[in-house]
């Protein structure tokens, strides 16, 4: 079983899927000769040709609208948004349009569409190359949103996204692309959409997280173990639909919950998870539901000191664990 980085897992999965299914096309900025700015499609135009690996003008609404039209007409496009920060011009085609195709035609049409969006910070990206944009998509019925944190999950979830018969947003944390390595089987496998996974078993509290923060949570949990605090770490993996059952099972067992996210907290994924816990785990809770998230400022600043102040870190998570443990 080869060890791959997360970006390698993404690349190998797309390549295998495109070899398997000729209806899959790639569409985006710099995806052909450049191989994508993160090299997710490195070598693809050579293997699959310009008909299936399509460089577009710099126009995100076009990318997503064209992909949507091709999907409704029976293809399985994978659209790449170069940076999550650039997805806003395409929001109408995704949130306004793609999400409603099956519902708004009462099933006459559907849109088997995958949108890959590199997101997240701690890459010195400043306000416009660091954004976390998951909330708007996760709020939208008709869309499925996945945010894999490991190469194994990335392969399984991306394959499921491509094979799904409805639009799936695949959020790939840029910092994890080369930071995170893991074993990835070469055989064909998929992971179910809408299922969380316990990445570390524990008894004293549950950390709920996803993306880069999942790895920081795991680091913090190891540090906490040395202090006698046994932390369970839950990886949401899919942000819509959120896996209520796994959250409820874990938090009911541990009695305490800390939700860690890189996005600002107001009306966010952590708000939803906290609401789920409040509704379903009320009588099992031994302390208040706690959240660790950046301050409510518009986006991640460029200065390294300000960036570090914005980002949750293993150290900040450990502090939050210590605080929640004695509450």
């Amino acid at each position: 079983m080869p060890e791959l980085t997360l970006i390698e897992a993404i690349r190998e999965t797309m390549r295998d899927e495109m070899r398997r299914d000729e209806s899959i096309i790639l569409i985006g900025e710099d995806v052909a000769n450049r191989g994508g700015v993160f090299l997710a499609t490195d070598g693809f135009v050579e293997e699959f040709g310009e008909d299936r690996v399509i460089d577009t003008p710099l126009a995100e609404s076009l990318i997503c609208g064209v992909a949507l039209g091709a999907a409704v007409n029976g293809m399985r496009p994978i659209a790449e948004i170069q940076f999550a920060d650039f997805v806003w011009p395409a929001i109408n085609q995704l949130v306004g349009e793609a999400s409603k195709v099956r519902y708004g035609t009462n099933g006459v049409k559907n849109a088997p569409l995958t949108i890959r969006i590199p997101y997240g910070g701690e890459v010195r990206g400043g306000l416009y190359h660091s954004q976390s944009i998951e909330v708007l998509f996760s709020h939208t019925p008709g869309l499925t949103v996945v945010a894999p944190s490991t190469p194994f999950d990335a392969r399984g979830l991306l394959a499921s996204a491509i094979r799904a018969n409805d639009p799936v947003i695949v959020l790939e944390h840029k910092r994890t692309y080369r930071l995170v390595k893991g074993d990835v089987p070469t055989d064909d496998y998929t992971l179910p959409l809408g299922r969380a996974e316990i990445k570390r078993l524990g008894t004293d509290m549950t950390i709920v997280s996803y993306g880069l923060m999942l790895h920081y949570a795991l680091q913090a949990a190891e540090s906490a173990a040395a202090e006698g605090i046994d932390v369970e770490v839950l990886d949401l993996r899919t942000l819509r639909p959120i896996d209520t059952a796994t959250i409820v099972e874990s938090v009911s067992k541990t009695g305490k919950a800390l939700i860690v996210q890189e996005d600002t907290p107001a009306v966010s994924i952590s708000s939803e998870v906290a609401a789920i816990i409040a509704e379903h785990c009320f009588f099992d809770l031994d302390g208040p539901v706690m959240r660790l998230a950046p301050p409510e400022i518009p986006a991640m600043p460029f200065s390294p000191l300000q960036e570090a102040a914005f980002m949750p870190s293993p150290e900040k998570i450990l502090s939050a664990i210590r605080k929640l443990a004695v509450l």
């Binding site: 096309i25 008909d51 299936r52 399509i54 577009t56 003008p57 126009a59 609404s61 076009l62 997503c64 609208g65 064209v66 992909a67 949507l68 039209g69 091709a70 999907a71 409704v72 007409n73 029976g74 293809m75 496009p77 011009p89 109408n92 085609q93 306004g96 349009e97 409603k100 195709v101 099956r102 519902y103 708004g104 035609t105 009462n106 099933g107 006459v108 049409k109 559907n110 019925p141 008709g142 499925t144 799904a164 018969n165 409805d166 959409l193 809408g194 639909p241 896996d243 209520t244 059952a245 789920i276 509704e279």
Partner: protein, 339 residues
């Protein structure tokens, strides 16, 4: 006349006498149904209607030049006539206007005749104008990639021509020489905003020059002219020569929708002028003048249309509203986990 803005040539395709009369019947049926849904709105039975009155010749002329058995139509909200020309029945349309059970295009989730039709590849999805244009480019692109012999027709109003999606889709269609026809029904008003507040030029068709394909401006009240221009565009698309922008200059004879009052922003002279460009009257005069119809036959066409609409209205009015039991269906293929 700028180089990219062509007029239809003298040796253009001609509609047969039989087809002219048949298309006129469709226009009259559309007009009759259009009048009826406006009335149903005023009676409190139809929540909303956007009238196609004034656009009928443009819409039947366009559809006539295409092949509904294989072509794709991404249309917009003012296309009742095109819907009928493509084979939708008055009963189906009225189920949309009255939000009845069994409405075929969206299960009455959407505004009238929005959604997708089960029999014809017609997608009339959004009320956010111009969103259908990049989608149409995607449909045409996927046909081209698979070598399918299909043309995509995307229609839109002059209002939509101001959207970024209009520019982005025309630019992309030009680059890839897509088998796509941009069909602009220019009625000179984006709700209340007149053309000179929408663009600094006199014609949407002129813009095609900037995208590297032909733009044609035609009299949208002239059935023959619209048909001939669309036929040229369809042939171009089928031959792999790329897109065409057709601007059909029409009149919006009624306000924007049943919720609008155009006397608030149209002058009496303007309303008088546009009422003289009623395509149903113009086509009627043409057929009478050519001796293809007698006055009596024309009256019969109108009374038959009215009868057909009466029968459909009586049948559909007694049907139940689309019920709540299906409200949760068709969100995604798999049911979301319940909370």
């Amino acid at each position: 006349m700028c180089s990219s803005k062509q007029k239809s040539s003298g040796d253009s395709a001609h509609l047969s006498d039989e087809r002219l009369v048949a298309l006129y019947r469709t226009m009259v049926l559309s007009r009759c149904l259009d009048d009826r849904v406006w009335l149903l709105n005023r009676l409190g039975k139809a929540a909303i209607a956007a009238s196609a009155q004034g656009h009928e010749a443009a819409q039947v002329g366009c559809v006539e030049a295409t092949d509904p058995s294989k072509d794709h139509y991404l249309i917009y909200y003012r296309q009742l006539t095109a819907m009928i020309a493509l084979g939708s029945t008055p009963e189906e349309m009225l189920r949309g206007f009255l939000a009845k059970e069994g409405e075929p295009m969206s299960g009455a989730r959407q505004f009238p005749y929005h959604g997708a039709h089960p029999r014809v590849d017609m997608f009339n999805f959004s009320n956010v104008i111009a969103t259908q244009m990049p989608q149409a480019a995607g449909v045409a692109l996927s046909d081209k990639l698979r070598g399918w012999d299909a043309v995509t027709i995307v229609s839109f109003g002059d209002g939509a021509a101001s959207q970024g999606d209009a520019h982005e889709s025309m630019n992309f269609a030009g680059i890839h020489k897509l088998p796509l026809i941009f069909f602009c029904e220019n009625n000179r008003y984006a709700i209340s905003v007149p053309l000179d507040k929408q663009m600094a030029i006199d014609s949407v068709a002129s813009r095609a020059a900037g995208y590297g394909f032909p733009g044609v401006s035609v009299d949208g009240t002239n059935l023959q002219e619209v048909y001939a221009a669309t036929k040229v565009a369809v042939d171009r698309a089928r031959n792999g020569d790329g897109p065409t922008l057709i601007e059909a200059n029409v009149e919006r004879l009624l306000p924007h929708t049943t919720d609008d009052d155009h006397t608030r922003y149209r002058s009496a002279e303007d309303i008088e002028h546009m009422s003289k460009r009623d395509p149903v009257k113009i086509t009627s005069s043409l057929l009478l003048g050519k001796g293809l119809l007698t006055e009596a036959e024309d009256e019969a066409i109108h009374s038959e249309a009215k009868k057909q609409v009466n029968v459909a209205t009586d049948a559909v009015e007694s049907e139940p509203f689309a019920g709540v039991e299906k409200i949760l269906e068709n969100v995604t293929e798999s049911t979301e986990p319940t909370r």
